[in-house]
Amino acid sequence: MWNYEKRLQYPVKISQTNPQMAQVIISQFGGPDGELSASMRYLSQRYTMPYKEVTGILTDIGTEELAHMEMICAIVYQLTRNLTVEQLKESGFDKYYVDHTLALWPQSAGGIPWSATTFQSKGDPITDLHEDMAAEQKARTTYDNILRLVKDPEVADPIRFLREREIVHYQRFGESLRIVQDRLDSKNFYAFNPEFDNRRSGKCCD
């Protein structure tokens, strides 16, 4: 289960609204490489993961991604607070506003709704961990792209924090992949799938 903690993982305090920027940053909420996809990916993959270290990392990173989703939502919320109709029209935020007013809804910057098709849960640890490492790099690139567009230091600061975490997560998933491979057949990593072929569990204490 989960417990809510009434604070952000890293503070978000934005004084200047900027609906145009919000429309770009919302992609890290509901876009293809966003935090919602990240969390659902890891939290879905963990159930059949046979190695306790990797189950732990999927659970803990999947949980941290929920906190990142909350930070992104806080950024979007603060960038669109108290907008006037004129500001909505000028910024192009009117297209979002007509469907959601100023509420948060997971979509990409291009308006595509969030979808579970943005991630895979394949049931093979080598496959899933490669996807997880790629996902962290894709999110890092997205944050790099956002940082080229952001001028406001109050926005750039929490975005830099989130970018940094992608790099740490990539490192941990790389270690997880090594842990998995150390427990497989060193002559052929694909000889069996430890999430399906029970004849050799490959568990840590074997």
């Binding site: 009434k6 604070r7 952000l8 978000v12 909350e70 740490v168």
Partner: protein
């Protein structure tokens, strides 16, 4: 009593810093479960985080359900303070 009241922002910074240390070393320990130094580091910041959360609940408001106090307040304090994304939130 009031003289000892810690500064809100300073206490919040302490919670954020200690919690971040816990979050980060927790991931490291998942993939390095035998690292004694990392475990010591974890213990130090976990303790710091626990104390700061209790202090924050005592002087300001609860940030976790485990630190909600019903003895000193008339209202259900969990919903009293601003939410983290709101102005004045954490």
């Amino acid at each position: 009593m009031n003289d000892n009241k810690p500064c809100r922002q300073e206490l919040m910074n302490r919670i954020n810093a200690a919690s971040f240390a816990v979050d980060d070393v927790k991931l490291f320990l998942d993939t390095h479960p035998c690292d004694k130094d990392a475990m010591e580091y974890f213990e130090k910041y976990q303790e710091m985080r626990k104390c700061a959360l209790h202090e924050y609940a005592k002087y300001y408001s609860p940030l976790t359900i485990d630190t909600v106090r019903t003895d000193s307040c008339e209202n259900w304090s969990w919903i009293d303070e601003p939410w983290p994304w709101q102005e004045g939130g954490c």
